[in-house]
Symmetry: C2
Subunit: 203 residues, 2 copies
């Protein structure tokens, strides 16, 4: 297993090869993937993965970010409140319909249920990358909770449709699904204030 | 490993012991559980599990039905359309808050992502036991799709709250969660007709 470093066109190519190999290995689950096996598949020395990504967790994070592209929520959110539900739903289901984007994210969702490092990564990712961006739409004190309810709804729908494949939800055309789910997302993000059960801190 | 059959009070006790042992073993995942290990834990001969439940799949089905108690949706649904969203959400989150009910269902959701027999069982269970009952509320041609959207939403919320434990959703008091999610469920079950993308078959 000789390292190919030095025979490459450049660091960008090598990073790309590592990401692709990581995507394939992580798609089968977080726990079974190893830096050594990913390095072998990418044709690089394992130390390069540590150097570029800090190790297995860092690479997993990079694979997820590359698949989900959370920064692409920004234009969806900046499109304004009108139609935000449908735009978010369309953004999310598009991610699930591209296999090379779907499988890493699906692996994260499934691994997070049993592997604490994957769970920590999912929490950070959802909180910092997704909820923070989507919350900017609703301009309310409970904006983060609203964004997370919308996100958890999308996750449940994607699991039922793409992973469990339960009809009729698995068979409805995507545009119709976007219309239906978009309404519920609008309700969460823009709907009337819901009385809290806890007293909030006085400001 | 002597069989305890004959030393028991009766068949009901034995069935209960098998269900309890099955619940514990399946909670760690569908694929790793074996009839032999469950029989050992229950103190019975493996052939009794085959006799009572038909084997591993049948026992898993019985464990799930015992945990989820889908027949208890019936009174929720029969309470009428007013407040149906909140009643269904309360029913569902109550299931997740009782560990002995939560873990078997959680195991089904996670196992179904990677094990075809568990996936088939989840599809049957959701379709026959949950969707069929909940669909009776909405009295529309697309009632099953509406019920499944509501159910997939509940599943996503439960995963985010109880399995991934992502705040603030994991920290909000249950009654507040029920109020918020109930509104979205009402929207799915009772909301206005959504234009379909496909032409429906002429009747």
């Amino acid at each position: 297993m000789t390292s190919k470093v030095g025979r490459r066109g450049g660091e960008a190519d090598t990073r790309g090869d590592i990401l692709r190999a990581g995507r394939e290995h992580f798609a089968r689950g977080y726990s079974d993937a190893t830096v050594r096996a990913i390095a072998r598949a990418a044709g690089v020395d394992p130390s390069l993965i540590v150097q570029f990504y800090g190790g297995k967790d860092g690479l997993f994070r990079a694979v997820i970010a590359d698949a989900v592209k959370p920064e692409s929520i920004q234009p969806v959110v900046e499109g304004g409140r009108e139609g935000i539900g449908r735009r978010l739903a369309a953004w999310f289901f598009e991610l699930w319909e591209a296999p090379e984007r779907r499988y890493p994210f699906q692996a994260l969702l499934l691994s997070a249920a049993s592997h604490p490092p994957a769970a920590e990564l999912l929490r950070e990712f959802v909180t910092d990358e997704i909820v923070a961006r989507v919350a900017s739409v609703s301009r309310r004190k409970d904006a983060r909770l609203r964004a997370e309810l919308a996100g958890s709804h999308l996750i449940g729908t994607a699991l039922t449709r793409y992973v469990y494949q339960i009809p009729p939800l698995s068979e409805v055309p995507t545009p119709e699904l976007v219309r239906r789910v978009g309404g519920a997302i609008d309700g969460y993000l823009l709907g009337p204030v819901v009385r809290s059960s806890r007293r909030r801190r006085t400001r």
